[in-house]
């Protein structure tokens, strides 16, 4: 898919206005941001700075009040519900803070669910997902359900699910917030490795200085605008 100036994610003068009763809340006030393919980017900022809103918009889960959001060459404002649903399925991976695995499915089934939605055959799904689960360190745990896995293991399944369909970008919501420090380190190692080896583009929202320390680019949001954008060498 063609991208704008090599960017996989583009936000141009994005405004998002929420209405809470009679009060208008400006979540984003003309946000501009470009994320290139293969970046390992952390979005930081205090509560209410617009991190959630920004990731919702990039994840095609919400629409801006004004401005433009382009993901993998698709202008989201011009797409209908079904097309957005397909875009999320095919081009965007999600990793949630609370893992959000489907509790009745095994690790294997959770990881392959997006591939199943894409209509990939069972044998191809199984082959790909078994390899992925081995890559994230869950070999031998394929048939365990989420309640039989630790928090860190569940998040690994979530990462496998997010990258199984080779998305253009993976959006991660505080991916280390619910795990201990050691597990957080291992998860960051894993995502770094996937970024380096497979070129997966990661955008995290985080409060965690450790995550920010591992990111190669840290975008700081304050009051719905970019207040800082720091890139580091690989």
């Amino acid at each position: 898919m063609s991208t704008q100036n090599g960017s996989i994610v583009v936000l141009e003068n994005v405004v998002k206005l929420y209405r809470q009763g009679s009060v208008e809340v400006h979540a984003l006030r003309g946000l501009d941001l470009h994320v290139r393919k293969g970046e390992f980017t952390a979005i930081s900022g205090p509560s209410g700075s617009g991190k959630t809103t920004m990731l919702n918009l990039v994840g095609a889960l919400d629409r801006p009040t004004s401005g433009r959001v382009v993901v993998d060459g698709h202008d989201l404002s011009r797409m209908g519900r079904s097309a957005l649903s397909r875009l999320r399925r095919d081009r965007i991976g999600f990793v949630f803070q609370a893992y959000n695995l489907v509790p009745v499915l095994t690790a294997l089934e959770n990881a392959e669910i997006v591939l199943a939605l894409q209509g990939i055959s069972a044998s191809r799904r199984r082959e790909r997902v078994l390899a992925l689960l081995a890559e994230v360190g869950l070999e031998g745990m394929e048939n365990r359900r989420p309640d039989q896995l630790s928090g860190g293991q569940q998040q690994r399944v979530a990462i496998a699910r997010a990258i199984a369909a080779d998305p253009a970008v993976v959006l991660a919501d505080e991916p280390t917030a619910n795990v201990d420090s050691e597990t957080a380190d291992r998860l960051l190692d894993l995502m770094e490795r996937l970024n380096a080896d497979k070129g997966v583009t990661f955008i995290f929202s985080t409060h965690d200085p450790k995550v920010m320390g591992r990111a190669r680019r840290v975008v700081r949001l304050v009051d719905g605008r970019v207040a800082g954008d720091e890139s580091r060498g690989p």
């Binding site: 991190k51 959630t52 990731l55 919702n56 994840g59 889960l61 919400d62 519900r81 079904s82 649903s85 397909r86 999320r88 399925r89 095919d90 999600f94 949630f96 803070q97 959000n100 489907v102 509790p103 009745v104 499915l105 669910i113 997006v114 199943a116 939605l117 894409q118 699910r161 959006l171 919501d173 505080e174 929202s205």
Partner: protein, 415 residues
């Protein structure tokens, strides 16, 4: 995601809250058990009543003169009863066919007279399978021949006339020409059915003796009573026969010849259906509650599924699959739960003799046995099964629609 996969996910979701699912399945099973037992009670009871009513004179289907039903008269006859019997038997649906003469007569004994209905029968053609009163002899026996001069009286009628076995009774009726004719008969039998209207108002006469008295030809009769294995075939048979018997006769169902009984049964069946609909609504409300709670508890999960690519239709389908599984498991559980009570009520029955007496109760001249048995028609089992599936799917519609309407950004908090 293929349908089978969605169904597998739905199956597992069904058991996420095992206790709630079991409670819902119990309510389905209870509702189905009530519906099956009530319907089975009606199917068996009304079949017994209709078959008994048919054996009390008219048959399941009656061939008679086109004007006889509106104005019963001994003038309105069918000329060739035997030929009509053969036509009916040739359809393959009729098990028995008997020609009869029935009408009203005035009976007189030494110093009393009473009006009564009479049925003139051929004793060689009749037995308990065509005429139930044959089983109800208190004294005496069925006629030895169709030409003898005997008369069989209902027990109360004999008592009213003050006659016993062997005593003389004069019967008077109006013949085809409108002339009053009489015959002398000796009481050759007394029957007691337990139905007051029959015991006090029915007598039997030999058919050829009556033919002679009325001036009928050899094969002339007022009706041919037809019997079928399954009374539900009566309508179809009557319609078919109407085209075969010609203009000189009509084929009528028991519903037409016994409208009081038909009305009573329809009213009772209607009451049962209303009761069953109320049960269905209550059960459906329980299923709806379960499905709706199950959906509302999983809004976040649905939001996540939407986020990773599930569309609204797929989520709708997932919840509808859950409803379908609920229905199918509900039917299976219902079958297990219902089998025991059904077997007991089928084999032993429900004894109401303490309430209605050992003789039973009379409805439109038909005595209903005080021991009610259960035997449901197979097609009604199918109807109840389909009703469970339909009610469960309808109960799942709104929750499924609600699941499909989840807005992911509201259902999940991404950051």
């Amino acid at each position: 995601m293929a349908g089978t996969r969605l169904s597998s996910m739905a199956w597992r979701n069904l058991w996420r809250n095992r206790r709630r699912t079991l409670v819902t399945l119990s309510s389905i099973a209870f509702g189905v058990m009530l519906a099956v037992l009530m319907t089975g009670l009606g199917d068996r009871s009304w079949t017994d009543v209709i078959d008994l009513a048919a054996r009390m004179g008219t048959g399941h289907v009656t061939i008679q003169h086109p004007g006889y039903l509106d104005t019963p008269s001994l003038k309105r006859t069918i000329a060739d009863a035997s030929a009509l019997e053969e036509i009916a038997l040739a359809t393959g649906e009729v098990t028995r066919a008997v020609g009869r003469i029935s009408g009203q007569t005035m009976l007189a004994a030494a110093d009393k007279s009473y009006g009564a209905a009479f049925i003139a029968v051929d004793p060689a053609a009749e037995d308990a399978g065509t005429l139930s009163v044959v089983d109800a002899f208190r004294e005496g026996r069925m006629f030895a021949s169709s030409r003898e001069s005997g008369i069989i009286l209902g027990s109360k009628l004999a008592e009213n006339l003050g006659v016993r076995m062997g005593r003389k009774v004069v019967y008077t009726m109006t013949d085809k020409q409108g002339e009053i004719v009489s015959g002398l008969a000796r009481v050759s039998g007394i029957i007691h059915t337990g139905a007051p209207s029959l015991d006090a108002g029915l007598c039997l006469l030999p058919i050829d003796t009556v033919r002679e008295a009325l001036g009928y030809r050899e094969d002339e009769a007022t009706e041919v009573a037809l019997f079928v294995r399954d009374h539900r075939r009566s309508e179809a048979l009557a319609t078919r026969l109407d085209g075969l018997v010609g203009d000189g006769a009509d084929a009528l169902t028991w519903r037409e010849t016994q409208p009081e009984l038909a009305g009573f049964i329809s009213m009772k069946i209607g009451g049962t259906i209303v009761f069953e609909i109320v049960i269905a609504i209550l059960v459906a409300a329980g299923i709806f509650n379960t499905m709706f709670m199950s959906v509302m508890e999983r809004l976040r999960e649905f939001g996540v599924l939407m986020a990773i690519g599930f569309g609204p239709r797929r989520l709708f389908g997932l919840v509808m699959w859950e409803s379908l599984w609920m229905a199918l498991v509900g039917i299976a559980v219902s079958a297990v739960v219902t089998a025991g009570p059904y077997w007991v009520l089928h084999a032993r029955g429900l004894d109401f003799s303490a309430m209605v007496g050992k003789g039973g109760s009379e409805v439109a001249g038909v005595v209903i046995d005080p021991i009610l048995h259960v035997a449901i028609f197979p097609e009604n089992v199918v109807v109840i099964g389909l009703a469970v599936i339909l009610a469960t799917l309808l109960s799942g519609l709104y929750p499924a629609w609600r699941a499909g309407r989840v807005v992911p950004v509201e259902a999940i908090k991404l950051v």
